[in-house]
């Protein structure tokens, strides 16, 4: 059966392969061809810092060389002109949005001025320029897209001003923070960011960046780092709860993007158990940690783990105790991309798949 795919672009309905389910993708990466793309969106003195041949090259990236044939990208996302995978909207439309009938997708920036740690005013200007670049080059060109607000978190009050500046645009649905290892964001120093997110009815999301480390820093091989990095999200989530962020900002919602999710039962059990013994240290935390997680935190599917028995994966899901916590993500254009047609194993009931593929994200983000 062929049916009209959901979504319109440029006034024309897109026809093609049958769409089996409504899909919202909460993790697509839009990429700059280079940081010089931001020059038109920067004022002096910052413009000159990037718009010269031997100028600033961007926030520090992932320090590993990628062992895959086409680096961090899936092979068919590689461009023919040498620009980074994910830097061409047309290719994103062809390979993800149109191909899978994705109704809405959230752009997750990998440009994190927070990772600079230095020259804070410059980092703040870069964040602002990046948001304007996303608006003009992505959001204005495809109405299916939503995006994340980039900030320089090392200057929380400036970050809050940036959130207020663009946060009223409904296409910005969240603030993105890097899952770094050198700070935890639950500290009151960072609270202006959460306050601004709540004020603008925005989610705060975490995603890996060039500053993401494992619990032992940078182990020798990329496979070690990639296997262990969920520790960074875990530490940030624990910090948000123990620091009282969810108690202080009672409407705040948090998304853990590309953290994987099968560690969540372990963390909830251990955190709840510790809370019963150690609540006296953090009495401002009013409820069991697992309650904040179930009610206020969502996770993305990708990267999925695939146990030998797919029934085990569904059992892990059930252990979390909520059918709303998981949202589908492709992670396009990266090598660990997941297809919406294949990512969820047959052990997940059809109605649950529908929630994960679409309505969980819609309900959480409100679009």
């Amino acid at each position: 059966m062929t049916e009209i795919l959901r979504g319109e672009r440029d006034g024309r309905r897109q026809e093609g392969k049958a769409s089996k389910a409504s899909v919202v993708d909460v993790d697509i990466h839009e990429m700059l061809t280079s940081v010089r793309d931001l020059a038109p969106y920067l004022d002096e003195p910052w413009r000159s810092r990037v718009d010269v041949n031997d100028g600033y090259k961007g926030p520090p990236g992932n320090p590993y060389s990628f062992p895959q044939p086409t680096g961090v990208a899936i092979q068919d996302a590689v461009t023919d002109d040498g620009s980074p995978a994910g830097s061409k909207l047309e290719l994103v439309q062809e390979q993800v949005l149109d191909r899978y009938g994705i109704e809405n997708a959230i752009l997750i920036s990998l440009f994190h001025p927070t990772d600079n740690q230095i020259q804070p005013e410059f980092a703040t200007a870069l964040a602002s320029a990046y948001n304007d670049w996303v608006l003009e080059n992505w959001l204005e060109r495809d109405e299916r897209l939503r995006s994340s607000i980039t900030v320089a978190a090392q200057e929380p009050r400036d970050a809050a001003r940036e959130i207020d500046r663009v946060g009223s645009d409904p296409r910005f649905v969240q603030v993105i923070l890097p899952a770094v290892a050198h700070h935890v964001f639950g500290r009151p120093f960072y609270w202006p960011i959460f306050e601004a997110a709540q004020r603008n009815d925005l989610v705060v999301a975490f995603h890996q960046s060039g500053g993401t480390r494992t619990a032992v820093g940078l182990p020798p091989y990329y496979i070690e780092w990639h296997t262990a990095i969920s520790q960074a999200w875990q530490s940030q989530l624990i910090s948000l709860i123990a620091g009282g962020v969810f108690d202080e900002f009672e409407e705040l919602k948090v998304a853990m993007i590309e953290s994987s999710w099968t560690w969540v039962p372990h963390l909830m059990w251990r955190f709840d158990y510790n809370y019963r013994s150690l609540r006296r240290e953090v009495p401002w935390v009013k409820r069991l940690p697992s309650e904040y997680i179930r009610e206020r935190v969502r996770f993305s599917t990708q990267p999925m783990e695939y146990p030998e028995d797919p029934g085990d994966l569904y059992r892990m899901f059930e252990m979390i105790g909520s059918d709303e916590f998981l949202m589908f993500a492709t992670d396009y254009p990266h090598w660990d991309f997941d297809s919406p047609e294949q990512a969820l194993p047959h052990t997940f009931p059809r109605a649950l798949k529908e929630k994960i593929l679409s309505s969980n994200a819609r309900n959480f983000y409100g679009f």
């Binding site: 962020v245 202080e248 019963r276 013994s277 609540r279 009495p283 401002w284």
Partner: protein
């Protein structure tokens, strides 16, 4: 230690009155364990001098709660601030530090879990004797 009191029917309740100790046996801020028949109870004396009595076995790993401690519960008005409650008192398990509210027997961390709640007992002080109804 074993209860030393004689048994007396409590009017209409089906409970029996057990004198477990004298007032001066438990100083304010302390907790002591007693056995009455086959039951173990923890008798706590709050810092205001009043008594509370709960079951003496932790529902977690069966530690003797009377070997733990009591305190005014640590609470907070805002993240980063701590103060001790003016009204709530808790008994801390000597092993894992689980807290039990001495009014309700419940764990303040998981108030909705009846399986983690201690049984509480009525207590009175008459003529310098501490009596518990079981």
């Amino acid at each position: 230690m074993a209860s030393r009191g004689a048994l007396t029917d409590a009017a209409g309740s089906g409970q029996k009155r057990h004198v477990v100790c004298r007032l001066e046996d438990i100083p304010p801020g302390a907790v002591r364990g007693y056995r009455t028949g086959n039951r173990r109870i923890a008798v706590a004396r709050l810092d205001d001098g009043s008594f509370r009595v709960v079951a003496d076995t932790c529902p977690h790993q069966a530690a003797r709660l009377s070997l733990g401690s009591i305190e005014r519960m640590w609470v907070s008005d805002a993240p980063g601030t701590l103060r001790q409650s003016e009204t709530r008192n808790v008994l801390l398990c000597p092993w894992h530090g689980f807290e039990f509210d001495l009014e309700t027997g419940g764990d303040p961390c998981v108030p909705g879990r009846p399986d983690l709640r201690l049984k509480t007992y009525r207590v009175e002080v008459v003529d310098g004797e501490v009596a518990v109804y079981l």
